[in-house]
C-alpha cells in the first residue's frame, strides 16, 4: 500500500525529481505514519513523570455540606480538577465551558467524568457562590473551598499549581492562578493535564483513552 502511493506520486509531472533514495525515504515515512495510525493512541495533554500523587488532598466540599472531599476519582472514573475563582471573567469560564463541551462529546461515558473546582479566592467566593458557579457548568460538580490558607496551599503544592491574591491600594483584588485542568484517576495520580487553550476535542480524545484504561 505504501509503495503504491509512492508510485502514484512518481507518475505526476514532478516524478522527474523523485530519485530512488527519495522514493525509498518517502515510502519509509509513509509506512511509519500508517503503522502509527494502528498503534495505541497517545495522550495529547501534558504527562508528568512520575505521575504526581494527589489522592491525599482533601478539601471541604461546599456543594456537599462542607464534607471533606478527597481529590481521587471513583472506580472506573476520572476526576478533573481546576483551581480558579468565580470573579474570573475570561480564563475560568472559557476553561469550564471547553471542559463541558469535551465531557458532553463523550456521550454516555461523560457520566464517568467528575469535576472539582477549587477556589483560590475563598474570601469572595462564598460557599453558595462557588457551588452555584460550578454547578452551572456541571450539575454534580464539586465546589471545594477552605478559608484555611495553609490547607489550600498544601493542595496547590501537591498539584504543582500556583496562585496569588493581592489587593491594591484602591482595593482592587488581583488574582493569579494556574490555568490547568488536571485529570486524576482512581489511584489518585494526575495522568494528564491540559493547559489553557487545549481544544475540547483534544480533551475528549484524552478522556477516552483514560477511561478505557480505567475499565
Amino acid at each position: 500500500m505504501a509503495s503504491l502511493r509512492a508510485n502514484d506520486s512518481a507518475r505526476r509531472p514532478l516524478g522527474g525529481v523523485l530519485t530512488k533514495p527519495f522514493l525509498f525515504i518517502s515510502t519509509l515515512v509513509l509506512a511509519s505514519v500508517l503503522l502509527g495510525a494502528c498503534s495505541e493512541p497517545t495522550l495529547g495533554g501534558m504527562v508528568r513523570t512520575p505521575e504526581p500523587y494527589v489522592g491525599d488532598v482533601s478539601l471541604p466540599d461546599a456543594s456537599d455540606g462542607e464534607r471533606d472531599f478527597l481529590t481521587i476519582a471513583e472506580e472506573n472514573e476520572i476526576l478533573v480538577v481546576y483551581f480558579g475563582y468565580t470573579q474570573c471573567p475570561d480564563i475560568c469560564p472559557t476553561t469550564m465551558s471547553d471542559l463541558r463541551k469535551a465531557v458532553e462529546d463523550l456521550g454516555r461515558d461523560g457520566d464517568r467524568v467528575d469535576v472539582a473546582f477549587i477556589t483560590v479566592d475563598p474570601e469572595r467566593d462564598t460557599p453558595e457562590h462557588i457551588t452555584g458557579y460550578v454547578q452551572s457548568f456541571f450539575d454534580d460538580g464539586h465546589a471545594l473551598r477552605t478559608e484555611d490558607v495553609a490547607r489550600l496551599e498544601k493542595a496547590v503544592l501537591s498539584y504543582g499549581a500556583a496562585f496569588s491574591i493581592t489587593t491594591d491600594a484602591d482595593g482592587t483584588v488581583e488574582v493569579g492562578h494556574s490555568a490547568l485542568l488536571y485529570a486524576v484517576d482512581s489511584t489518585g495520580h494526575i495522568l494528564v493535564q491540559w493547559p489553557f487553550g487545549t481544544l475540547p476535542e483534544d480533551m475528549t480524545n484524552d478522556l477516552k483513552i483514560l477511561l478505557r484504561k480505567e475499565t
Binding site: 475570561d90 469560564p93 457548568f137
Partner: protein, 147 residues
Amino acid sequence: MRRGLLLVLTLSALVAACSGGGGIEVDDPWARTSASSQNNGAVYMVIKGGDTADRLIEVSVPTSVAAVTQIHESMMTEDEDGEDMMMMQEVGSIDIPADGEAVLEPGGFHIMLMQLAEPLEVGNEFTVTLTFETADQVDVTVEIREG
C-alpha cells in the same frame, strides 16, 4: 471585458472607502453566557484597522448591563517558584495596526464587564461603545452565546 472589470474594481474601491468611520471595522462581537453567581463577564471581537494606526482607548456599556467596563488582558506569568500562572490586568489601550487587526479573544485581550446587572443570557444582546484615539466612536451589538 477589461473595461467592465475596471468598473467593478473602481466601484468596490469606492464602497470600501465609504464603509466604517475612519476605516475601523468590528467583526464578530460576542460574550459568553455568565454562570450563575458570576459577577463579571468578558466581551470578545476582532477590530480591523483602517489606513492609519489607531488605538482603542475606552470602552463602555449601559449601566443596565454592568457597572464598570475596562480593557483587560489575560497573560501567562510565573510565580516565584517558576510555576506558570495566568494573571489578568487592566490595560490602558489596545493598538489597532493600520490595515491589520486587534484580536480580543479568550486568554488574551478582552473587554471586562464588572458587576453585571443581570446574568448574560443567550438570545439577549447589548451595545458596547468603543472609543478610539483617532477614529469615530463605534457602537457594536454584542451577541451572547452559550459557552
